[in-house]
Symmetry: C2
Subunit: 209 residues, 2 copies
C-alpha cells in the first residue's frame, strides 16, 4: 500500500522524505492517518533497491552550477531527493489497475481513491463497487446486532453500534453517488451551482519535466 502511495506522490514531482510525508498526509489523510517515518524510510530503501525510484537529480540540484555546491559542512547528511524511474511508472500503473481484496479495506481504498485521477474508468468502477459491497456487509452486520442482540448489550455499546451503522449507511450512499457519476461519465463533486463546465481535474499532469 505504501509502495503505491509513494509512487503516486513521486509521480507528480521528485521529493525528499520529509516533504513526501507531508504530501502523503494531505493526499490520503482524509481516510487514514499519515504513514510514519518508521514505514516511510524503509519502504523508500526497498523501492530504490528494486529500481522503482532513484536517488538525486532533482531540479534544485540541476539548477546549481557545477563547482558552486552548497557548503558540505561537517559530514553533511544532506537531504536525499527521490524520483520515480521509468520502470516505477510502469509498476505504478499496474498497481493502480489491480484491485485485490485489500483494495476494499479502509486503508487500501483510501490510497487507491486518492489516485483515481490517474486510474482508468473501468478500474475506478470496479473499486467503487467492491468497496460498496464491503461497506454493505459491514452495515448488515451492524444491523443484525442491533436487531437481534440489542437487549444483551449495554447502552454505550448500542450507541457505538448506532454510530457505526450511521457511518456505514452514509458511506454507501456516498459510494452510490460516485458510482452513478462514473457511469454517466461525469467528474465527482458537488452538483454544479450554475455552470455546466465539469471542474477540470488539474488536467491530469501526465509529465512535468
Amino acid at each position: 500500500m505504501l509502495d503505491l502511495a509513494i509512487l503516486g506522490i513521486l509521480h507528480e514531482s521528485p521529493m525528499h522524505g520529509y516533504e513526501l510525508r507531508k504530501q502523503l498526509a494531505v493526499k490520503v489523510g482524509a481516510l487514514r492517518a499519515a504513514f510514519s517515518y518508521g514505514s516511510l524510510y524503509p519502504t523508500l530503501r526497498k523501492l530504490q533497491a528494486i529500481g522503482w525510484i532513484s536517488e538525486g537529480d532533482a531540479d534544485d540540484e540541476a539548477a546549481a552550477p557545477a563547482g558552486a555546491e552548497v557548503p558540505p559542512m561537517t559530514s553533511r547528511r544532506g537531504r536525499v531527493v527521490y524520483k520515480i524511474t521509468a520502470e516505477g511508472k510502469e509498476r505504478f500503473q499496474e498497481l493502480l489497475a489491480q484491485a485485490g481484496p485489500e483494495t476494499f479495506e479502509d486503508q487500501g481504498f483510501g490510497v487507491h481513491f486518492a489516485f483515481f485521477a490517474r486510474t482508468d474508468p473501468a478500474t475506478r468502477l470496479r473499486i467503487l463497487e467492491g468497496r460498496r459491497r464491503k461497506v454493505e456487509e459491514r452495515r448488515e452486520g451492524l444491523r443484525d446486532v442491533l436487531n437481534r442482540a440489542a437487549e444483551r448489550l449495554d447502552a454505550y455499546t448500542l450507541e457505538l453500534q448506532r454510530h457505526g451503522l450511521d457511518a456505514a449507511e452514509r458511506e454507501v450512499r456516498w459510494l452510490e453517488e460516485l458510482i452513478a457519476s462514473e457511469r454517466s461519465g461525469r467528474t465527482p463533486g458537488p452538483a454544479p451551482a450554475g455552470g455546466t463546465e465539469g471542474m477540470k481535474p488539474h488536467s491530469d499532469t501526465p509529465e512535468r519535466t
Copy 2:
C-alpha cells in the same frame, strides 16, 4: 489495546478463543475490524503468562461428573477455556481508568468506549473530551486543505477530503451529544420520543457469578 478488550470480554464470562473473537467482533466491530487470531492467541498466552487470565474451570467442565469425561479421541487438542483472574480484574479497572494518547485514536477509543458501562463517569468524560479534541484537529486539518490547497488537487482527492471532513464533523457532533449526556447524568441513546425516562442500560451488570 487487545489486552484490555480481552479482559473486558472475559470479565463477562469465561470463554474459549473462537467464541472470544466473535464477542470481540460485536463489541468493538463498529469502529474497527475484529482482531485476528494472529494477535488473539499470542495475546492470550501473554496474559496467561502474567497471570491476568487462567485456563480451564469453565462451567461446562464443572458440570460434567468426574469419571464421565468426553471421550479423549486420538490426541484431542480440546477447546481451551479462559477466565479472568482476580488480578486480571484489578488490572482491567486500572487500564480502563488510564487514558493515554492512544486512547483517543480510532482503535483505542473504540475499545475504551465499548466498556464505558464499566468505566467511572469522570474517566468517561475525560476520554470523550480527548477524543473530541483529536477529531476536531483532524477536522481543522481537512478544512485547511480544502480552503487553502483546493486548486492544486484533482476532483477525486477533493471529494475524498469532503467526505472525510463530513465524517469528522458528524463525529464531533456525536461526541458533543454524548458529553452533554454525561454531564447531565443521563445514559446515552436516541432522544426519547415522548417519555422522559432514560432507557435503563441493562442495569450495569457489575457481577454475574
